[in-house]
């Protein structure tokens, strides 16, 4: 019977084409507004690595001087080089990596491709396993490379394709990065975690991943400049790069991965023990003020989803509600124009339940058509946002889940809007209608 109702619903679209068009448009505009904002919100607030986001932790240490605490009582959002390296060398967790942003210059040596600047990060070999970086060729560098600061690099697939022919495996080839020769040990497959969870500060949160990944010690040894933020509570003890390394300036991000969620408490203790050890050496005048947040908590703390996005999502849903109220009115008008048909169907054996199902299905059909047009409008709206702001490219992709959501939302909205008109249709007294036909 449902197929019968469905076919009647599609046929009914042709009846009262003006009303039908108005309803479909009202619904589709409401759905498009909601799905557009929801797509962005969903992408921004999504968990890019759900199977381990509770095991990836950001440890923070408060190295602010006693007389100059932060306003909100929070420790700085990055570590000093000294602390990051000390924690890394002690390897107190299952995996760990320091991280800082680079802006390396790439020289391909090709006449047709002049040197260019790109984005990079200095990390440890654990970084790739910690954040599930997908490997196309080769892999991460070795522990030994990490230890001795080898001039090796992992590059992105897009950089590889830019420098070499597509399909070529460049592992083992040399590449000149910021005037130093590096050996390529790995090429990543396209990798666009949204948001870019490992670098939520000092980089574009919704940009694709970097082109160049270098060992931490190598970047430091080559004094590669930091491409990111730094905050200093006191002047560095010496000028230049070396001074920064010895300073209380916070500019290195640090991540650890614990093997089990339960290991988090142990790492917090480990961090506290480290701070106490440093206190004994005369650092950290303040009482212990550490933080250990997992990825989701870190995203919440940093407000990865800004309030504007949340507000516009609420507004879009409020707009959908207004569209729904309009649809209720239009459906009332459409259904109330047909008491005769309802009377005939009742006389021919339809129960009230049959009429209810038929008309609710008809409302759902309007929802299906509304969803299709709504998806077109959503696609156009997202394309427009992308064209206005390239940084939004990764969060304005309409995925399968959102497609289903749009159809579901539209059908649910139209069925909801159809409840009152359908109930009214079921109240038609057939005897009154048949004589007046």
């Amino acid at each position: 019977m449902f197929r019968y109702y469905l076919s009647l619903g599609f046929r009914s679209l042709r009846r009262n084409p003006v009303l039908t068009t108005l309803m479909v448009l009202t619904l589709s505009v409401g759905v498009a507004a909601s799905i557009t904002t929801l797509t962005i919100l969903h992408a921004m607030s999504g968990d890019p690595i759900p199977h381990k986001s509770d095991r990836l932790l950001v440890p923070l240490i408060d190295n602010q001087p006693v007389d100059n605490p932060s306003e909100d009582g929070e420790p700085p959002e990055q570590l000093t080089y000294m602390d990051a390296m000390a924690l890394w060398e002690k390897k107190g967790a299952f995996r760990q990596t320091p991280l800082y942003g680079l802006g390396p210059a790439i020289d391909s040596g090709r006449a047709d491709l002049p040197p260019f600047f790109t984005e990079g990060v200095a990390v440890s070999r654990d970084f790739f396993a910690m954040f599930d970086a997908p490997v196309r060729h080769g892999g991460a560098w070795s522990e030994e490379d990490d230890r001795r600061g080898a001039q090796v690099a992992v590059i992105s697939s897009s950089l590889s394709e830019r420098l070499f022919d597509k399909g070529v495996d460049p592992v083992g080839r040399k590449l000149r990065i910021s005037d130093h020769d590096f050996s390529i040990v790995g090429v990543l497959a396209p990798w666009n975690p949204v948001p870019k969870m490992y670098r939520l500060i000092g980089g574009e949160r919704f940009d694709s991943s970097e082109d160049v990944f270098l060992p931490m010690r190598t970047a430091i040894a080559l004094e590669m400049d930091r491409n990111g933020s730094m905050d200093c509570s006191s002047d560095p003890p010496a000028p230049g790069f070396k001074g920064i390394l010895q300073s209380e300036c916070n500019w290195v991000q640090y991540w650890v991965e614990v093997e089990k969620t339960a290991d988090r408490a142990a790492y917090a203790d480990y961090l506290a023990a480290y701070v106490n050890e440093q206190k004994a050496l005369g650092r950290f005048g303040k009482p212990i003020n550490n933080r250990l947040r997992n990825l989701r908590e870190w995203m919440d703390f940093l407000g990865v989803v800004d309030d504007d996005t949340r507000t516009s999502t609420w507004l879009a849903f409020a707009f959908l509600l207004v569209c729904l109220v309009n649809t209720v009115g239009l459906l009332l008008a459409k259904f109330s124009a047909r008491p005769g048909e309802i009377g005939v169907r009742r006389a021919l054996g339809a129960t009230r339940g049959d009429v209810f199902r038929q008309y609710l299905t008809e409302a759902a059909v309007i929802g299906i058509v509304g969803a299709l047009i709504g998806l077109l409008l959503t696609w156009a709206a997202l394309a427009y946002i992308r064209s206005m702001d390239e940084g939004m490219a990764l969060v304005t992709r309409l995925d399968g889940g959102m497609l289903l959501m749009a159809v579901g939302l539209s059908v649910a909205a139209s069925v909801f809007a159809g409840l009152l008109p359908t109930w009214r249709a079921c109240q038609v007294v057939p005897a009154l209608q048949l004589k007046s036909q």
């Binding site: 019977m1 019968y4 046929r11 009914s12 042709r14 009846r15 005769g340 048909e341 009377g343 005939v344 169907r345 009742r346 006389a347 021919l348 054996g349 339809a350 129960t351 009230r352 339940g353 049959d354 007294v429 057939p430 005897a431 048949l434 004589k435 036909q437």
Partner: protein
């Protein structure tokens, strides 16, 4: 086939109470062709609506094909209506955006027949009314007489035991009316009981039995006619 005893129907509004039927008794036997006549407002349509289970009655008893209708819920009444009763209306009441095939299909859908059975019944019914070749046409493409034939096909497709016709020729010219009437007679001859409300004495005369309703009650037409003739000193036989 249809038996009403001491049936009454009262319409109530805030202000007034209207007795549409009172002490209404009628017994229609299986296979009969009964014409129901009466002046406007006498209760003919109310009677037909109650007979067709489209309206509930206030008191009394109503049996259709030995099923007591009192106390049946909406679903049971709809099922009973679908299985046992066919309707023919003065205004045809075809659904304009369904073609003839789909119009005749409507009651069969609610009956739950499978597609093959529905097709067989639709084609048989449309053949019976002489419109088999126009299955794909829409009601607006047909004359009034043809539309009424489609309505008859729709009523027949479910093989009802009782056909209720409310002024079936009221909107037709005399030629078309005659055709429709002949069709109803054929259907009756094949065994279907027909209850037809009409204003047309000529059509009423073609039924096997006439029931006259006045002021919501059945009035024995033969008896009344005889009394009227007697008052004019004319014997019924010579009249």
């Amino acid at each position: 086939m249809l038996k009403m005893q001491n049936l009454s129907k009262v319409y109530r509004t805030h202000m007034i109470e209207t007795q549409a039927l009172r002490g209404f008794d009628i017994h229609v036997r299986e296979g009969e062709f009964v014409a129901v006549t009466g002046p406007s407002g006498s209760g003919k349509t109310t009677f037909l609506n109650i007979a067709g289970l489209l309206e509930e009655f206030s008191s009394g008893q109503y049996l259709i094909d030995n099923v007591n209708v009192a106390g049946l819920d909406d679903n049971a009444r709809s099922r009973l209506r679908n299985e046992k009763i066919g309707f023919i209306f003065q205004g045809f009441n075809l659904i304009p955006d369904l073609n003839l095939f789909d119009n005749v299909d409507v009651p069969l859908r609610y009956r739950g027949f499978n597609a093959a059975e529905r097709k067989r019944r639709i084609e048989q019914a449309l053949t019976q009314v002489g419109l088999a070749s126009r299955q794909k046409h829409y009601p607006a493409e047909l004359s009034g007489g043809q539309q009424q034939r489609v309505a008859i096909a729709r009523a027949l497709a479910g093989s009802p035991k009782l056909l209720l016709a409310d002024e079936p020729t009221g909107n037709l010219d005399s030629n078309m009316a005659r055709g429709v009437m002949e069709l109803l007679e054929e259907i009756n001859a094949a065994g279907t009981t027909i209850l037809m409300v009409t204003h047309d004495p000529e059509l009423a005369a073609r039924a096997q039995r006439n029931v006259h309703i006045i002021d919501g009650q059945v009035s024995d037409l033969t008896d009344q006619t005889n009394r009227a003739l007697a008052s004019l000193s004319v014997s019924p036989e010579s009249a």
